[in-house]
């Protein structure tokens, strides 16, 4: 719910003016949550004719934002009111799948990529299209990042810059695009999707891939906790952690809450949230901390508090993440049925 902190609304620009109107509406009707009065109407109205969503309203439909908006809509109170919207969104997702089971980053692209994982995840949440999910996860399990290939590792051992990186080359996560390196976010999201998949849909070898990917994530943790995109050391200098990859990695590794790496990284996240100014980062951090049963740091702002700054730059993905964070339902993340909200 916002705006708990009215001071977050700054008196500058038209953006703040619109936010001020929203604040006034909320004051009149405090039972209406920020998500229901602002975020969900924005998401619903941003749906394109083809059923998908762009990264911003009015932009071409893309797989990734469509997945996150669907996840947000699956979790809203008024499920019936979103049913047709969701069906159209799911239809867009199904139609965007490539014959090899993967999903491309944009229409017309004939090669699948990392958005295959969130697409499978969204379909899993919808409890529909098991064949599409199985095909997608099968593609994921066969997609092998190039940096872990034997020849590549052997060549790296001969490189004059081999001492600048401390990464364990044999661990296989997932890259953003086929034939590239493993990175933290695509690896984390793929791990989550595989973790939510019913056993009967899991591709052969999935467990081994998961173990290697988890090892890769731990290997790529930044010194001092947290993760960045996946470069923990750059020319001998510790990489700076970032909130989004840290949140994703911790969510993917939440089955090991007692591991030192998890605890150190949670500590990093909690210490850094008060300075965080990105609503997308805050939303994912909130989901992450709740997954570990941690309280929100008192001095950190809630994601919705930042709406007045830039209206989330119009981002449907950020808006969807804020919806997911604000909603107490977590079946989309745990795979467990929830009977009440």
């Amino acid at each position: 719910m916002i705006p708990e902190n009215e001071a977050a609304f700054t008196p500058e620009g038209s953006c703040a003016a619109r936010a001020g109107v929203i604040a006034l509406e909320l004051e009149r009707n405090p039972s209406v949550s920020f998500v229901e009065s602002v975020c969900l109407p924005k998401l619903r109205s941003a749906q394109n004719d083809d059923g998908g969503w762009g990264y911003r309203p009015g932009l071409q439909s893309r797989v990734e934002p469509t997945c996150w908006v669907l996840q947000a809509l699956f979790n809203v109170a008024d499920v019936e009111g979103s049913r047709e919207t969701c069906q159209r969104g799911l239809q867009f997702l199904r139609s965007a799948q490539l014959p090899d089971g993967s999903w491309p980053f944009a229409a017309g692209q004939e090669v699948g990529c990392s958005v295959t994982a969130p697409a499978c995840w969204a379909l899993l949440s919808s409890k529909s299209s098991p064949e599409a999910v199985a095909a997608g996860l099968n593609w994921l399990s066969q997609d092998a990042p190039r940096d872990a290939a034997f020849l590549r590792r052997w060549l790296r051992r001969l490189s004059p810059t081999r001492h600048y990186s401390r990464q364990h080359g044999a661990y296989r996560g997932w890259g953003w695009n086929p034939g590239t390196s493993s990175w933290v976010e695509p690896t984390s999201v793929a791990l989550i999707a595989l973790g939510l998949c019913p056993k009967e849909l899991l591709p052969a070898g999935a467990n081994e891939r998961r173990q290697s990917a988890e090892a890769m994530l731990y290997d790529r943790m930044c010194p001092g906790g947290g993760w960045n995109c996946g470069d923990p050391m750059v020319y001998g200098v510790p990489g700076k952690s970032l909130v989004i990859p840290t949140a994703w990695a911790l969510i993917a590794l939440r089955g090991y809450p007692q591991r030192t790496e998890n605890m150190v990284s949670l500590d990093w996240l909690e210490r850094n949230l008060p300075d965080e100014q990105g609503p997308g980062s805050l939303a994912l951090a909130q989901i992450c901390l709740e997954a570990y049963g941690h309280k929100w740091p008192e001095t950190a702002r809630r994601p919705g508090h930042l709406y007045s700054n830039n209206e989330f730059l119009g981002s449907t993905t950020t808006t969807a993440w804020v919806c997911l964070a604000a909603n107490s339902r977590r079946s989309w993340l745990t795979g467990e049925e929830e009977t009440s909200r």
Binding site: G13, Q109, W176, S181, Y235, G278, L313
Partner: protein, 318 residues
Amino acid sequence: MTCNAKTALVPSFQRPVSRVAIRSAASYEQDLLALIYETLCEFDLPVRGKTVLLKPNLVGPDPLGVTNTHPAVIAASRESLLRLGAAQVLIGEGPAVDRDTEAILESIGLRHYVGSVTNVFVDLNVDDVEKVSLKTTASRLSELYLPKTVLAADFIISMPKLKTHHWAGVTLSLKNMFGIVPGSCYGWPKNVLHWAGIDAAILDINAAVRPDFAIVDGIVGMEGNGPLQGEPKNSGVLILGDDPVAVDATCCRVMGLLPAKVKYLSQAGILLGHIHQDKIQQLGESIASVRTPFSVLNNFQHLVDTSAAFGTQPALVG
């Protein structure tokens, strides 16, 4: 596609002399608007009634203002172009390693300098995209999906920060164009470009979308392990010019580095612009008067101009 791809590839011997201006600017608090506006007037830029895209270098949260193009420079450039009659001046960037672009904008306080950014800033990482066949084959890439905002812009200004780079040697107006490649297609970081070869990818991207102009923020640069983890370097200059290759070559000279030794810059000098000083008309301060040697990582020591006894450079044109 209205960007200037048609003028991107011209053999050096057919390309007219480029013009580069060096302006001293001691701090971000001084009147940068007057400085930049007056300098842009000297170039007589064809921006009246046009859509201009400013492409700053915003790589990550930067509360200390040492990593990214400073918002004061962005704002002063934007206001200058509006005064010069541009119909619209957009700011577009696709940060490379942090997908929370809003967090980056807030960390540098961009809206406090340019006002509301909601209709001014375009996150190029998540813009609509269009497949572009590459005109050159320096890398193994044959095509790239590029943001429509970039392709539709009438006039593109690359606005990097004066920095060293741990993989490319230096990151200036050409390397800055990596930021137009959308993360929503190629990830955070844009790892496809790394696998294609950074130097080669820089050439292919700039051949596809060559900036019309460059404004380099060298008031505070970065040396050593740039572009993220180097040390701040007070250089006190803005470097502006109508040829991004010539601007980058001039930046190298200011940094005490040899542009011909920077692999991608040397190759860019064949078809994308000038790196030789006799083909660059120098405006404003002389290179020697503002030269500030930057330290580089050990693997880039060969870039250092050890013969640069200051003031012994060849005479400058103009």
